[in-house]
Symmetry: C2
Subunit: 224 residues, 2 copies
Amino acid sequence: MNPAVVLLSGGIDSSTCVAIAKQQGFAVYAMTFRYGQRHGVELRAAKKVADALGVGELKTVDIDLRTFGGSSLTSDTGVPRNRSLDRDEIPNTYVPARNTIFLSFALGWAEVLGCRDIFIGVNAIDYSGYPDCRPEFISAFEAVANLATKAAVTGSRMKIHAPLINLTKAQTIRLGAGLGLDYGLTHSCYDPDGEGRACGACDSCVIRRRAFTEAGITDPTVYV
Amino acid sequence: MNPAVVLLSGGIDSSTCVAIAKQQGFAVYAMTFRYGQRHGVELRAAKKVADALGVGELKTVDIDLRTFGGSSLTSDTGVPRNRSLDRDEIPNTYVPARNTIFLSFALGWAEVLGCRDIFIGVNAIDYSGYPDCRPEFISAFEAVANLATKAAVTGSRMKIHAPLINLTKAQTIRLGAGLGLDYGLTHSCYDPDGEGRACGACDSCVIRRRAFTEAGITDPTVYV
């Protein structure tokens, strides 16, 4: 089995990516980040998903994105609730350069593993308007990956897989459910309570709830 | 003064970049990394250079690239000495994805600072054959920078400056010396002794020594 590095946050998209990579026959090396986010619930979710799906290795990388801040997810600034998602603006939950940083670490690990495939669960349909979730960003990063590494001189090619990029969140959920993924293990809320229960009102919860309804699948999430 | 983020390792190239950015009228925000490298001498050199050149802020970012290894600079594998630099191979001092990771963090900080300019002291002439030191890599990363961030929607442009990319190391030294940079503050050796003295024989020392000779400037380095 060829190895693939899969970025895994423990949310719907990245967890589905693990299921897809497994289904495509890859040996999955999952990478998650303790980056100074507001809570550790998603790290526990990533562990549960990795265990349930039989990931070969789950590597947790410590970086502190509070070092430059600029996001409500890495500070005590409030996370917006019940925000209109139709507005064409980048919300304060955007973390500057986060996906670029995550993909860079995945690239380093992939190179060491001798692995040419990296999966990232970005989605440009049901999302919060983050610039680093769009297909043109993924293509540009793939170009970097092929120039930054030994692939540039050996002629092998690195591929950044973003299999969910053009799916609605409901389509993603139907896809993952079909692959046997238990979404009760996943976590989406930006600002859960002390017991890890989802707030139900942040962008991420709103998108998640709506998606389960659209998918016609019962939402297993425990909300406050 | 417009702000610029400058990647600063404390070596010849990055230190010269700080001097160039200052000379071009930028307010310099320097970023350095404690990334699990073999020694802390370069971090002290970065601090000395930042102080000497009057940098506005020097931010040290902690990341641990030993997490995936793959380099003699982040492990106990020996650093090659007296290697032929004419050979067209990537030596084991190459750190997978290092410049991609460094630029990603610089990008995040730049975005938070409202800064459109990032400097990196890569050099594709007198170098160790690392793929992420070539102009095509820098161009590709600049494309990522413009797609990954709010610049993608606001229409402002991020620029990755690599002012040394086509200079020989000797030309770089003459340039920096002309700008008043004291190269005695800088550090290049991959594997200094316990007192921080340069080995004189690793790729980095060999390139440095040769460059001072070519530049006709006395090498202030203390060698073992």
